[in-house]
Structure formats: C-alpha cells, structure tokens
Amino acid sequence: MENGGYVGGTNPAGKKVIAELRGVSKRFGDVLAASELNLSIGEGEFLSFLGPSGCGKTTALRMLAGFEAPSEGDVLLDGEVVNTLDAHHRPVNMVFQQYALFPHMTVAQNIGYGLRQRRPRLPRAQIAEKVGKALDVVQLGGFESRRIWEMSGGQQQRVALARAIINEPKLLLLDEPMAALDRKLRKEMQIELQDLQRQLGITFVLVTHDQEEALSMSDRICIMRDGRIVQIGSPQQLYDRPNSRYVADFVGTSNFFDGKISDRSGELATVALDNGMSVQGKPGADLSVGQEVCISVRPEQMKLHHRHAGVDVEVHNRIFLGEHTEYLVSHETLGDFLVLSPRQSELAEGPFNVGDKATVTWEPSAALILDRN
C-alpha cells in the first residue's frame, strides 16, 4: 500500500497494548529491510507476521527482541520507547528458528538459564522447581539431565519453548519455530502452541511463511511484502476481504481476472475484463473508474452447471477430494481456473467429466475487485 500505514484490522477492543511499532523502518546499508511499520499488539494476543522470505518479517521480530535497533520510528514495549534497549534488558523472549539451545548444557540447565541470570539470585531449589514445572508444561517431565543432542527435533523445540516461557515474558517471539519439523509434528505443535498460549495468557508473536500455520493459529495476521505491512486482520477478514491481489493470493487460493473499472454505482462496480467480458463485483478498496484492477473469485464461490447461463468452460481436470471435488476448467479467453464443488451440489448437478462442456457462475458479491499488485 502507498501509505504503508495501518491498513485494515484494529487492535481488538478492550485489550491493553503491550507492544507497538510506530513508523518503524530499518536499513541495512542500502537495503530497506522494513519500511514504515505501524502496528500495535494487544495483551494476550496471538499475532503472526506472514510473508515470503525477505519481506522484513524477521527484521520486525528482531527489533521487538532488541537484536536490531530501528533506523527510524519507535518500538514501544508496555508504553515505553525501547529503541536502543539491549535484548538482555527486555521482558521479551524468543524461540529461535533452529532453537539455539546451548549444546554444553543439559535440558534443565538450558531451561533454567534465564532464571539464573536474575539478580538478586534465585535460590537453587526454586529454579529447579520452576524448571520442573516448565518441563511439565511442554510434556517433557523427567528429561532434566538429558543432553541436547540426545533429544529429537520436536523435543528440542519444546525445550526451546520451555526455556522462553519460564521467564514469563511480556512477549514471546517465535521465529519460524516449526520450519524444522516434519508435517505431522508441525500440526501437533501448532495445536499445542495454541493451547499453551491460552493457558499462559502470554502474548505470542509468530513469524512464518506458511499461510496455513498463520491462518490456523493467529488471532490476527500481519501480511508483509518488501518490508511493508500490506494488510492486518483476523484470518477470516484477510480471507474474505483481502485488500489486494497479493493478499488474496497469499491467503488461500483464488482465481484472478484482469480488467478495468468501467462503472461504479452503489455497492457494486462493473469491470470490463481484458477479454471484452463485463463483470460485476464488489470493490475491496477505494477504486475509481478507469483504474486497472483484477477480479478475485475464490474457487468455492464458483458454481459449475450443465445447462445454465454463465461463463462457458470445458472441464480439463477433476480431482475428487471427498467432501469436495476440485475442477480445473478452461475458458477460451480467460484461461484456466479452479472451481471447488461441494459434495451436495455434485449430487444435484451430477458429476462433470474431463472434456465436458459446462458453465460457471458466481454471485457478484463474491467477486472482489482488487488492486492488481
């Protein structure tokens, strides 16, 4: 977005703001890694930074952790500007991408590390007790004296988690914590993380490039691109009302047709598609007549018919997914696109086979008119 500002989605009402980025930019030499970030994070919230690698999400996280100082703007924690406050003074803890566990220490020593840095010193017995509790929370009770290299990847991740949460941080930062886990373990950890977050009430900030992960765990997602925040909102808001083609493409799957706005009146607008067709749709953002836009229609919003007025297509591929059937259909000028057909409508309309001629329809309100970027 042009202003790079606070785009869509607000901090959930009634929540105390625990961390804030105000016009934060970060330069590494000539490279602008983060630009004009504005974001407030509510207490107890689960917020995700989502975007492809190099979009600035990790830089944003590192500025919250205190590993990088912003070039411009302010980072606030609990209402105080902490721009240059060192990491070891911040009530923030991080779960690192490859966990960064201390290889020369046992599991218990790793987890108790944060507590051992406290001054005045905590009694040993108290540290041991807290370590035991933290291990129970991550379901690793009894693993105290294990060495790090004796633990599996999933177990190491739990140790990293326990090492962070034992300090009861105001903010728990997670840098692609699931990236090194296999698919099944990742699913399990996602659910566990969510449970843990509810149980502890700690604010979680997750960085990920995995949209599924962000969608399934977060209260709010902050979508980033080229160092900027593109859109902030709940997973549902982002899915239903993306503010750009980029977001619609990144969150879920969608079909896009390029065109120009030819008319605007009331709720709907008319778009003259590049192939000459004229389609009605709902403007997703402020768009004016003559502007180059695209129309985004989610596959599940499209209906496939045998005999009905609509867009004429030919079925190219059919994948039966149980509750849904996914069709790849082809239009002479619009090209290929996806239609997701629920089981019930399959029963009513009958199946479509590869090579069948069919028509596709959708509600004008399901066709979002979006910025082409």
Binding site: A65, G66, F67, D86, A87, H88, H89, V92, N93, M94, F96, Q98, A100, L101, F102, P103, H104, M105, T106, Q109, Y113, G114, R116, Q117, R118, R121, R124, S145, R147, R163, A164, N167
Partner: protein
C-alpha cells in the same frame, strides 16, 4: 583387492615414515642411553645406568624448560584469546581474511631472522636505550628469562590464535543472541557460553604450543645467550660439542618421558573438563 589390503596399502606411506623417522631413531637413542662414552666421542655399547645417574648435572636445563614452557604457553593463551575473539566475533567480515593473513605473515619469515630482530630490540641499543632516555637506567633485557619468554610468545602466538579462532568462528552466533535474550549481560554470556564452547580450541592451542616449547632450542640460544638454556640446548651441546652421545641420549629419553607424562595428565584433565561440564556449576 580386499578391503583389508587396500587399508594396509593406504596406511603404508605414513606407517613407513613413522617407523623410519620416529620408532627407529627413538629406539637407537633409547639403546644409546644405556651405553658409555667412547674416548673419541660416540658410544661404546654397554648396559649401565651411569648416564641417568648423571642427570642432575643438567638440572638447570630441565628447570628452565619446565618453567618457561608452561609460563610461555599460558602467556600466549592470554594474549591470543582476545585476538582470536576479535577476529572471529567482532571483526567486520570484510576484513576478517586480511586480518587473519596478517597473523600468519610473520610465519613466512624464518624464526631465525625474527629472533635476531628481537636481539636488537631487547639489546643495549633497543628498548633499554629508550628506557634510559626517559630516565629509567640500568635495565637489562637480553639474555634474561624475560627475553626468552618474549621470544617464545612472539614465535608461537599464531599457533595459539588459530585453533581458538576456529572454535570461536564456528560458534553459532545465535547462541550468543539467545543468551542475551534470556537476560545475560555481555560478560556473563562470555563466561557461560563463549568460553566453555571454545575450550576445544584452547586445549588444542595449548597442547601445540606446549609440546613444541618443550623441545625449543633456537629462541633460548639466541635470546638467552647461553644464560637461559633449555633441554634442547643441552642436547645440541652434548651431541655436537662435547660429543657425549650416551649422556645426550639419556637426557633426550628423560625429556621424552617428562613430555609424555605431562601430556597424558593434561589430556586427562581436558577430557574430564569436557565430560563433567554438566556437573560443574555454571551458575
């Protein structure tokens, strides 16, 4: 060709080398050490402990070696560690290679020439003259244990810097961030994370320098001026000057035994340090 013969073939060059260059000479020296001195120099075969009984006559050489080698090793460690730390962790990656090369460059010059430079620096017209100029008179540096120590540290510093540099360079920098993130101040991060994880480098560096120092000959000869001499100097003297091979062999065998014992004890210590790091309180 079976796997077994192939293994033997691959081992053959190194094995032959060890046999001809190490085992055989050592055995000869061992046998000589029980012999008697021939009137014209060389050895008359015999079986006597007379040479070993005479060892106390060379006590000073052993004493010098056994003090200056450990002191030199520790001094080199104290100087090398900050340097290696800077190179591995603090230095701008762009300059790292150049700085590393600068550490090696002195190695391209013969130790002989470099030691001569120190003779001048520590000699009457060098640093003492400078001190004299500012009013500190009568300082003598050359031909003292201090001069030998300076030469040793200077000569062996790169051998200490490199192993430590390697262990610090491959240290995962995220561990340092994690430590800071968990509330450790920079000094505590160093003590609890950096230092323990660089112990392998420290151990290797100390071992390299110490073993080489035990056999050092050139630096004491040049900077000690015959006043501060090592076992190495005693050996040269015995074999080449007084041509008392039997006695020289006894001194050599004793040096090898002393070295073996020290190194064994040292290895034990290091491996225990490594194994018991979990028991050592890292609070």
């Amino acid at each position: 060709m079976t796997q077994r013969t192939r293994n033997w073939l691959l081992l053959a060059p190194a094995g032959t080398w060890f046999l001809v260059m190490l085992i055989v000479p050592l055995s000869v020296v061992f046998i000589f050490s029980f012999g008697e001195r021939a009137p014209s120099g060389g050895v008359v075969p015999a079986f006597t402990f007379e040479q070993y009984a005479n060892l106390p006559a060379r006590w000073t050489a052993f004493k010098n070696t056994m003090t200056l080698a450990p002191v030199g090793t520790l001094s080199a460690l104290v100087i090398a560690y900050p340097l290696a730390y800077f190179l591995a962790i603090k230095a701008n990656p762009k300059w790292k290679t150049i700085l590393l090369v600068l550490v090696i460059v002195p190695f391209w010059t013969s130790i002989l020439i470099r030691s001569y430079a120190w003779i001048f620096l520590l000699g009457g017209r060098g640093i003492p003259a400078l001190l004299d100029f500012v009013g500190i008179e009568g300082v003598r540096l050359i031909n003292t244990p201090f001069a030998v120590l300076v030469g040793i540290i200077y000569g062996y510093l790169p051998l200490m810097v490199f192993p430590i540099f390697v262990s610090l360079d491959k240290l995962d920098k995220r561990l340092l961030e994690a430590s800071s993130d968990l509330g450790a101040k920079p000094w505590r991060t160093f003590v609890q994370i950096t230092l323990p994880l660089s112990i392998p480098g420290i151990a290797t560096g100390c071992m390299l320098v110490f073993i080489l120092l035990m056999g050092e000959y050139l630096i004491p000869a040049l900077l000690g001026g015959g006043k501060v001499f090592f076992v190495g100097n005693a050996l040269v003297d015995l074999f080449l000057q007084s041509r008392n091979w039997a006695y020289g062999s006894a001194v050599a065998v004793t040096l090898v035994v002393v070295m073996l014992i020290t190194v064994t004890v040292y290895m034990r210590l290091i491996s225990r340090l490594g194994a018991s790091r979990e028991d050592v309180s890292i609070m």
